[in-house]
Symmetry: C2
Subunit: 191 residues, 2 copies
DNA sequence: CCGGTGCAATAACATTTGTTATCAAATTGG
DNA sequence: CCAATTTGATAACAAATGTTATTGCACCGG
């Protein structure tokens, strides 16, 4: 699982093995909650196999904000960083194999690598990239219609269309399931 | 202008003065463009007086995504960090007094302070907070109606309502000027 | 003081999107 | 293999939001 990342980190074998040893493997069925809304996030997950969604409850309806697939890191990022109650639930969609690490262990690793300029900058860059991703997704919500967002999704993240049930996608796009169904049939006719 | 920030930074007077000396003062009228969409951002601004909006062109209509006021830092953040063409325009709304610094100078300051753990962590924390702000704004776009977003804005950022022309606010809320007008008159009647 | 321009309100109408209900197909668990 | 549940499509109607056009007001620069 971790070998593929190894060459990105300028660490000697011993240090690397120590870091990796903090991670634990976990196998769970579909629809398993890994973190509940309101709980404080203490674990970061990396997906070996399967997919996961992040969602929150809005007046009884759940709204999915993100999807994650193989090799993605998943956490309720604000809750994890600040140790505050999570605004969101993290739940598997498919049966999953994940690796997880305790926040306290990750914190100590991060603190250690921050003194290595190259790793520190890799870390900072990672946060920036995450922000930019968010900004991009946000802007598409302002400028595009739901139909356009759906077309973008097909083009840019086809694995979401292929692997995720449609009602999760609907809330991710900001529309009802009924409306997404309508859009699909309209687009099919136009072809 | 900078005295108010000084005690937050554990720097000796000399270092502080050197850093501050990189900033230049600029006075501009309302509706002045500080960065054009498509240009690469080379300057970061800090507002001493006035307000600024960030917007982009979407099929001939401009969409405002952010407002900034006194003491805020403003830049096209992705363009500034990556030296890529900016997706947005930065423009004054009121006559403004701003201080600005060249990217290369700021980069050298940042590189220097990153070796001071306390400043480095302050910096990292700043990026996280920026991301969390974005996430919050984004989530309100998914879960709230335009009317609710308008009410939130009145409560949480009243200076935007007071100082910014309404048609900029409309696009910030994701509605047309006509619809915002309608919402206002509806809310006035309900009282 | 005049004329242009920017800004906001309003009306009438069009379009998009949500709501509720029903049905059928697919999937899952026993 | 069957029953229950999940998922997706569709229709009919309601509500929200966009479009276009008109009007009036305020402000600014000659």
């Amino acid at each position: 699982m971790f070998e593929q990342f190894k060459d990105k980190f300028p660490l000697d074998n011993n240090t690397w093995d120590t870091y990796v040893s903090y991670f634990k493997r976990l196998e769970v069925p579909a629809r398993t909650v890994l973190l509940n809304e309101g709980e404080t996030s203490k674990k970061l997950f990396i997906i070996e196999k399967g997919c996961i969604r992040v969602w929150f409850n809005n007046n009884g309806k759940d709204i999915t904000t993100q999807f994650f697939f193989e090799n993605n890191m998943v956490a309720s990022i604000e809750s994890f960083r600040k140790s505050t109650p999570s605004q969101v639930t993290i739940e598997t969609i498919e049966p999953c194999v994940v690796w997880w690490i305790f926040k306290k262990d990750l914190d100590s690793i991060l603190e250690a690598i921050k003194s290595t300029p190259r790793l520190r900058d890799l870390f900072i860059n990672g946060i920036f990239e995450r922000t930019f991703e968010y900004m991009k997704h946000f802007i598409s919500f302002i400028k595009d219609t739901p139909q356009q967002r759906y077309l973008n999704l097909i083009k840019e993240k086809p694995q979401i269309i292929l692997r995720v049930p449609q009602h999760y996608i609907a809330s991710y796009l900001g529309v009802t399931t009924v409306h997404l169904s309508r859009l699909k049939s309209k687009l099919a006719k136009e072809k």
